[in-house]
């Protein structure tokens, strides 16, 4: 569904179910009307024309990002470093780096405008309503404390459970993120665990207080491809089981396409394309999106999996030069 807001921004909302995108059906049917029906669940995250300014250099770094997220939905943000995708996430979480500020637009988490939230109000919101996992899991854990104790601490603070109950809950969470031997892992230090296991532990910690929204910012980038698939499967699983809404940020369009209903493609602070995942993949309109797809087709697995390339196609390298010349 596409709706136009009074301020002119276009909001695309798509159904909860994963879009059917079989390779044989390049023109997947448009999602049926649903999101705007009266029974639709409330929006858990509303980002409306957000602009972010670098106050020292007086430059606008992010220029107008908008999307809505309902329970069980997943939106993906794709773009390379410097495109503004991570700044957008940090704005949503209220953790913009120093001298960056939201200069325009609004962000609402579960109906609350985050502008002007006090620190205690933020502490309340983070973890229990919105949560996040990032690229390098090891750097978010204390290397000298066993991982179980670190999860238990979060549960005690966020849920007010006593130690023994918190430990039980932590073990449940470790099971929920498909760690094979939760009891064993509970008593291990971060250095004893692999990157994939650490990322599972951070996801367990992030969902400990039952948030409605989880932001995964390049959460699988540093992992081996088979482990990446396991983590993406886990996110899809949590989404189906608990109605967790996801914001998945990646430089890789294919990663985002695997999990998300809707994709935003960002370049140099602007959303250059947005839409249902199948539409963006099969009918990319912006030349930058076309380039991302061409790169996959010529310098990736798709090279062998797809129909032969068009010999008249200038190829991604040429396209990139043209694009860089334009901007």
């Amino acid at each position: 569904m596409t709706t136009t807001r009074p301020d002119g921004t276009v909001t695309v909302t798509v159904p909860v179910a994963r879009p059917a995108a079989p390779p044989a059906a390049p023109s997947a049917p448009a999602p049926s009307a649903r999101a705007d029906s009266p029974a639709a669940p409330a929006v858990v995250l509303a980002v409306c024309d957000v602009r972010i300014r670098d106050e020292v250099n007086d430059r606008e770094i992010v220029r107008g990002v908008s999307f809505d997220l309902r329970p069980g939905q997943a939106v993906g943000i794709v773009g390379e470093s410097g495109s503004g995708k991570t700044l957008t996430c940090r704005a949503i979480l209220g953790i913009l780096p120093e001298h960056f500020a939201v200069s325009d637009g609004s962000i609402e988490i579960a109906g609350r405008d985050i502008a002007g939230l006090t620190t205690p109000q933020w502490t309340d919101l983070r973890g229990s309503t919105i949560s996040a996992v990032f690229q390098d899991p090891a750097s978010y854990l204390n290397p000298s404390i066993k991982v179980g104790a670190q999860i238990t601490e979060v549960i005690q603070v966020k849920s007010g459970l006593r130690r023994r109950a918190a430990r039980r809950r932590a073990l449940e969470l470790l099971t929920a993120v498909h760690l094979r031997e939760p009891e064993l892992v509970y008593d291990q230090y971060p250095h004893e665990l692999s990157g994939g296991m650490l990322q599972r532990i951070l996801i367990a910690t992030a969902i400990a207080a039952g948030p409605q929204v989880l932001i995964a910012d390049e959460a699988t980038t540093a992992l081996d491809v088979t482990v990446q698939a396991e983590i993406l499967d886990l996110l899809a699983d949590l989404r189906e089981r608990t109605g967790l809404a996801l914001v998945v940020v990646s430089h890789d369009l294919a990663v985002v396409a695997q999990v998300c209903d809707e994709v935003l493609v960002m370049r140099e602070g602007e959303v250059v394309e947005r839409g249902a995942t199948a539409d963006v993949l099969y009918h990319p309109r912006h030349e930058y999106t076309q380039l991302l797809i061409a790169e996959h087709e010529q310098y990736g697995l798709d090279r062998y999996l797809d129909a032969p390339n068009d010999p008249n196609d200038p190829g991604p390298a040429e396209q990139r030069k043209e694009l860089d010349g334009v901007h």
Partner: protein, 277 residues
């Protein structure tokens, strides 16, 4: 240099162990691979599969405990460290590693880094500079960068210089260990393009990576390394479209692709169960 058809590199039944006595463990087992001129072979494997050990063995940096390594037809697996140093100095085999900041001397300018391997071989300075400039153009870098230090360059530029440095001695074989893993997508495509052009000049390439997408982007053949063994070796198209070993199937089924249906979750879980059994 080798004549056409004869492999530049032939590895037969390579065994490598690390550690002594009770700590001794096998890192590579029964590894065989041959690479001919103008061919790019991708070695794919995950963290700890032994792929960097394989690269180091071919460079004579770790000692084989069994099997043979033939470079240009000559068995080098029993070479002494001194013989290996002489071989590396001739520049027949070159290498490019993941982090170009650490593989380039931070105190040497681009020019000094590029011509050093030639000076070591006794090439006159003037001619070395000439050749260095040619190769800088080959990797599409501005000659203006010649006077810069590595710290003043971007990651993509540094990696191009590492590739140019590997090229100046006109090697028969270049081993690239995760050469694009630290780069953004624009630079990644730039390096992969250069590698494709290189292959056409007749040099043999071994492209080692954990990223199947990048390997598929350049390789003619793919070797899948799993727990120290090549569980599958074949034409890239064949390995990707028709993987046989459960790990190769899991790998292909896990790689995110745009238009193909990668294996669904149930299939991946079944393969994982099979591998862990």
């Amino acid at each position: 240099m080798s004549t056409d058809g004869r492999p530049v590199l032939q590895v037969d039944d390579l065994e490598i162990h690390y550690g002594l006595r009770r700590r001794r463990r096998r890192v590579l087992h029964g590894v065989s691979l041959s690479v001919t001129r103008g061919e790019t072979v991708g070695v794919i494997g995950e963290t700890g599969s032994g792929k960097s050990t394989f690269a180091r063995a071919v460079l004579g940096l770790v000692r084989a405990s069994g099997g043979r390594i033939l470079l240009d037809g000559e068995d080098v697996s029993r070479y002494s460290p001194r013989q290996w140093r002489a071989l590396r100095r001739r520049g027949v085999v070159q290498y490019v590693f993941q982090d170009p900041l650490r593989s380039l001397d931070p105190d040497l300018t681009v020019e000094e880094s590029l011509i050093e391997p030639l000076l070591v071989q006794g090439v006159a300075r003037k001619e070395a500079i000439e050749r260095g400039r040619n190769y800088l153009a080959r990797v599409r870098l501005d000659p203006e960068l010649f006077d810069r230090l590595p710290g003043e360059l971007s990651g993509g530029q540094r990696q191009r210089i590492a590739v140019a440095r590997a090229l100046v001695t006109e090697p028969a074989l270049i081993i690239l260990d995760e050469p694009v893993s630290a780069l953004g997508s624009a630079n990644r495509v730039g390096i992969l393009e250069i590698l494709k052009e290189l292959r056409d000049t007749g040099v043999a390439l071994i492209f080692i990576s954990h990223d199947l997408g990048s390997v598929a982007g350049v390789a003619d053949r793919i070797a899948v390394l799993y727990q120290g063994e090549f569980v599958e070796v074949g034409a890239a198209r064949e390995v990707i479209n028709n993987p046989r070993h459960p790990y190769a199937r899991l790998l292909v089924g896990s790689a995110p692709t745009l238009r193909s249906a990668s294996a669904d979750r149930a299939q991946r879980e079944a393969l994982r169960a099979l591998l862990h059994a």
